[in-house]
Symmetry: C2
Subunit: 301 residues, 2 copies
Amino acid sequence: MKLSILGCYAATPRTLTNPTSQVLEIRNHMFLIDCGEGTQVQLRKNRIKFSRINHIFISHLHGDHFFGLPGLISTFRLLGRDKEMHVYGPKGIKEAITLLLKLGDSWTNYPLIFHELTSKEPTILFEDDKVTVETIPLNHRVYTNGFLFREKPLERKLNIEAVRDLKIDKAHFRNIKGGEDVLLDDGRIIPNGKLTLDPPKPMSYAYCSDTQFKPDITEQIMGVDILYHEATFLETEKHLSAKTKHATAKEAATMAKMAKVGKLILGHYSTRYKSIDLFKEEAEEIFENVELAGDGRIFQF
Amino acid sequence: MKLSILGCYAATPRTLTNPTSQVLEIRNHMFLIDCGEGTQVQLRKNRIKFSRINHIFISHLHGDHFFGLPGLISTFRLLGRDKEMHVYGPKGIKEAITLLLKLGDSWTNYPLIFHELTSKEPTILFEDDKVTVETIPLNHRVYTNGFLFREKPLERKLNIEAVRDLKIDKAHFRNIKGGEDVLLDDGRIIPNGKLTLDPPKPMSYAYCSDTQFKPDITEQIMGVDILYHEATFLETEKHLSAKTKHATAKEAATMAKMAKVGKLILGHYSTRYKSIDLFKEEAEEIFENVELAGDGRIFQF
């Protein structure tokens, strides 16, 4: 699992900071999460192939999370895309994109499929044999969802030495990897655990931005490997965080602790602070394993 | 008159090239012309004060000319703007911006005034005692206007030595600068030309992008000091230029020659070419005084 941070700052694009966008590479999928202005340039800078993106998840319709989308959708056409593109986001996103294209007498050469969201309950948006993606309902000034990405368990790995020693026929391999025991010709039953090795543990990633502190998502994100949680402010600006329905670094860390996540990544910093290290310091008072998102930073898990 | 090129490339924003936007500083006005994605970052890089911009002119509603506008309008609010902002552009621009703001439950703290255009005849958009701005109807795939910026003539300058030698009373100065002759007490009439000096010649700037070669604008832009004309293609791609209703460098130069302009600035280059010098070479075969726009380049006239 690989997370590329394209932008992780709040509010407006600046010379050195970009609004929110990230790419999650998970079991050969490349999911684009949010799309602030300038995302397509950030994709290029990070050498991410546009053609590998087939699903775009938009958390909410504030400009710093989706004003890069109309341009990106236009660029896909210029690049000659013909594959389907799926866009998941709050109701209204289809009308907005459609209007912008229509005004320019433009269109897409590829099927552009909108999945408009209105539910305030966790909802599965995507599922195949490798991963699931579901919404995490959040609390912000407008209707907002986070997204929970989960790898599905892989098949067990064949213990090559064990099956060779026991002279087990290849015809059984599929069943063995599926978890079955084997009945040998001599009547012995070999338990699956002796024939297989544990596969890599499935990973999970929870993206929570933008939101105020929302403890009732604890159960849904319990035990995820990685939690990206917004921390627009420090506790010194808690009054602003309450007013604007954002979270502080301390609140993000509290969320990480309550949900017993593996690692917390902070982002969506207000640009009012001299150094983002202050966010890490504040969070680490509550939760141990804290990382700071940074534009262009890549996390490999 | 000072022209700052923020972006001058066609189609999509890339790592090193920006879509169309420029700022014309003319008699203390700062006019923003077109606003492709990333314009607000380009404004910052060029150290242009956001607060000095009060008028934005949008040529047409293709993304590379206006997808930066929603973000810029939002940023003005974050910067605490309270002054009026005037946006001039094709009909539909108000609906688009309003919808995007509404979806984010956003608004502007300042009066945002749209001047929607539908006329296919030259139309005066702005006039004060210093400048006029009028549309130049162009031919592109969608309804498109260029813009013609003209300084108004300044008052004549007082010839200090002459009025001192003739002992002319200060009470006459305003009339003299207005062009009047003076009747002295001894009955002599002093012609204005002896009392004043020519003021700096008023400058004019014509912005023509995007458009196919359109000779019938010749009369309107005749003799302008500076013509910015799009040159998306070279003559070798004339078939594409016809199909997409763009111009070649040769056609831009032909326009410059026909309209007897002072200087031609080329821009809106397709990124398919290895070097933009090719555009200059092609244009110079027709017209002598050719400059190449470049992102971040400043022209001072």
